[in-house]
């Protein structure tokens, strides 16, 4: 451990520059300030020139065609990309003003503040109770675990369906229930931000609608960033929307941010030509 470093997760970082942005960020209620100049997997440049602020208690959606790097950008926000070999990144991601890619920052700790819900529901092969209590056990939570589990399951709108079978396997639930279980697991440890990577793409329309209602509910307490292929979904739930696009004409395959703004503006009056085409369904 580097001892000369400033305390972790301190919004007022030692090097003067961060101070300013931290104060600005706090004023603007930006929880995560993400600026990716260039992002590589090995020699492959996956994303370039993408700056997206994630606003507090709002839902920010990333939309765009397949391969435009929206999941990659999302996974930058809690350093999930670190698990991929050859990942390199130039730019910064500041969580409450603190650069989470600073060498003194432990990526594991970052993920406890910035939780994640994945495309495929991925409960552990253990009971519903243990699934939700997983994060509590990770953090050595000493209090009333059962109360915390109930609270998390209620927040994920799953409590009534599972309260009589908490000891059944999490894998015995339906797909939609499993995804809500994963949301309960993520919120049980009270992260500040929830990253959702196409959380509904494996679900039927009814389960999808439930998750969307849940997201609107959850944004009262949490800050949410979501990647979605479903434009209607982004329109229904997102406050802010970023449109990413991949331009293959120049030989490169790097995705970049084309447009970011209020969802209403992006969907109803897009400023950029690519956005207009995408939203009108002229390519995908």
């Amino acid at each position: 451990m580097a001892t000369e470093m400033t305390p972790k997760m301190d919004p007022l970082d030692g090097n003067g520059k961060a101070d300013v942005s931290a104060v600005m960020a706090a004023g603007d209620h930006v929880v995560i300030d993400c600026h990716i100049k260039e992002l590589y997997y090995g020699a492959f440049k996956a994303v370039r020139d993408t700056a997206i602020p994630i606003k507090k208690n709002a839902i920010t959606a990333f939309i765009g065609p397949s391969g435009c790097g929206k999941s990659t950008v999302l996974r930058c926000l809690n350093r999930m990309n670190d698990l991929i070999r050859g990942f390199r990144f130039d730019g910064h991601v500041r969580y409450r003003g603190q650069d989470i890619y600073h060498p003194s920052i432990d990526p594991v700790a970052v993920r406890r503040f910035i939780g994640m819900v994945f495309q495929q529901p991925n409960p552990f092969a253990t009971s519903i109770l243990n699934n939700v209590a997983f994060g509590l056990r990770l953090n050595g939570y000493k209090g009333d675990k059962l109360a915390k589990v109930e609270e998390a399951l209620r927040r994920a709108a799953l409590w009534d369906e599972v309260k009589d079978k908490l000891h059944k396997s999490g894998l015995s639930l339906s797909g939609g229930q499993q995804q809500r279980l994963c949301i309960a697991r993520a919120v049980a440890t009270e992260p500040e931000v929830l990253l959702m990577d196409e959380p509904c793409s494996a679900l039927d329309p009814i389960a999808t609608r439930k998750i969307e209602e849940l997201m609107l509910e959850l944004k009262q307490r949490y800050t949410i960033a979501i990647v979605t292929h479903n434009l209607q979904q982004a329109q229904r739930v997102a406050d802010k929307t970023g449109f990413l696009y991949v331009d293959t004409s120049g030989g490169g395959r790097a995705g970049y941010l084309v447009e970011y703004g209020e969802s209403r503006q992006v969907f109803e009056a897009p400023r950029e030509k690519h956005t207009q085409e995408y939203i009108r369904g002229e390519f995908s």
Binding site: M80, L83, R111, R112, M116, F118, N122, F124, L138, R185
Partner: protein, 311 residues
């Protein structure tokens, strides 16, 4: 005009029957069709082969129960092996010896094996992991007598005598590669999305291993451990150079001495089966039955354990 047009009623234009031209006899089951015939023949062949494979298994079990069951009394569990021409007797010391030696071998090889498996799974394709994996694969094919020679060369010569400890180490050497390889497979089979979920929750490597990988892989790891135990319990060759045999109890004068020659069921069967005395031969059969029952019980316990885990 199409057959699906709803404005034209089918009765008005019967020639537009959408099923016209379909020969429904094509759908009937019939052995005259080569495809069906082949399928039936192959199914019968598979069933026949399965039965044939079961014949040796069941004959062995039957023979054991038949020849060994006669002699299976309480006395064999409590008494010591008889001298030649002596009647009665048992092999209580050999049962204890087998349990103790296999037990110690398990205690040595299971933690080592599982830790190596975790290392192999985490280190994936690193050069060192590849070397370790290759070594483990080669060791599975190691003739068991060589494990005995190894333990003889190290423990027996070093400590100056045959002992239960030397036998245990020989058995542990035999068990280790099986445990490493099956445990690595079991851990590798844990879905990637679960590993990702653990990472996404902010689990450290150690927490991921303890709280996700090992519990999820538990049934598979247990199967490997059971296989290794079953094999070790039946091994004779590695014990001949290491534990040798003894006509006395392992527990002498109130204390367990692991540094003395020790009896085991496998070596007892080997010794007694070749003797020209009927009593000894019958005891060998009974010992074989006990050995099989011991392994079977261990396996059933293991299965019950893994089922309880999964729910």
């Amino acid at each position: 005009m199409s057959a699906g047009n709803p404005s034209i009623s089918p009765s008005a234009v019967p020639e537009l029957n959408p099923f016209a031209g379909v020969d429904f006899t094509e759908l009937e089951r019939s052995l005259r069709r080569p495809r069906t015939l082949l399928s039936v023949v192959l199914s019968l062949l598979v069933a026949g082969m399965t039965l044939m494979a079961l014949v040796p298994l069941f004959s062995v079990v039957w023979m054991l129960a038949w020849r060994g069951g006669k002699k299976l009394t309480l006395a064999v569990f409590t008494q010591l092996p008889p001298a030649p021409l002596e009647q009665g007797g048992g092999f209580g010391n050999a049962i204890v010896g087998t349990l103790v030696m296999v037990g110690i071998a398990t205690v040595i090889s299971v933690p080592l094996g599982i830790m190596s498996a975790v290392f192999l799974e985490r280190a994936k394709e690193s050069r060192f992991a590849q070397v370790v994996r290759f070594a483990a694969k080669t060791l599975t094919g190691l003739p068991s007598i060589l494990a005995g020679v190894f333990a003889y060369g190290t423990i027996v010569l070093l400590t100056g005598g045959f002992s239960a400890l030397a036998g245990s180490i020989a058995l542990a050497v035999l068990m280790l590669p099986t445990i490493i390889l099956t445990a690595e497979d079991a851990i590798r089979m844990v879905p990637a999305k679960m590993k990702e979920a653990a990472a996404g929750m902010g689990a450290t490597q150690t927490q991921t291993v303890w709280m996700v990988l090992l519990p999820t892989a538990f049934p598979g790891i247990l199967t490997g451990v059971m296989l290794a135990i079953a094999r070790a319990a039946g091994e004779t060759a590695p014990l001949l150079f290491t534990a040798l045999f003894s006509n006395y109890w392992l527990l002498s004068r109130g204390r367990l001495d692991l540094m003395q020659p020790t009896a085991s069921l496998a070596v007892l069967i080997y010794n007694f089966a070749g003797m020209p005395f009927e009593n000894q031969v019958e005891l060998a059969w009974a010992a074989a039955l006990v050995l099989v029952l011991l392994v079977l019980t261990t396996n059933l316990l293991g299965q019950a354990l893994s089922r309880r885990q999964v729910q």
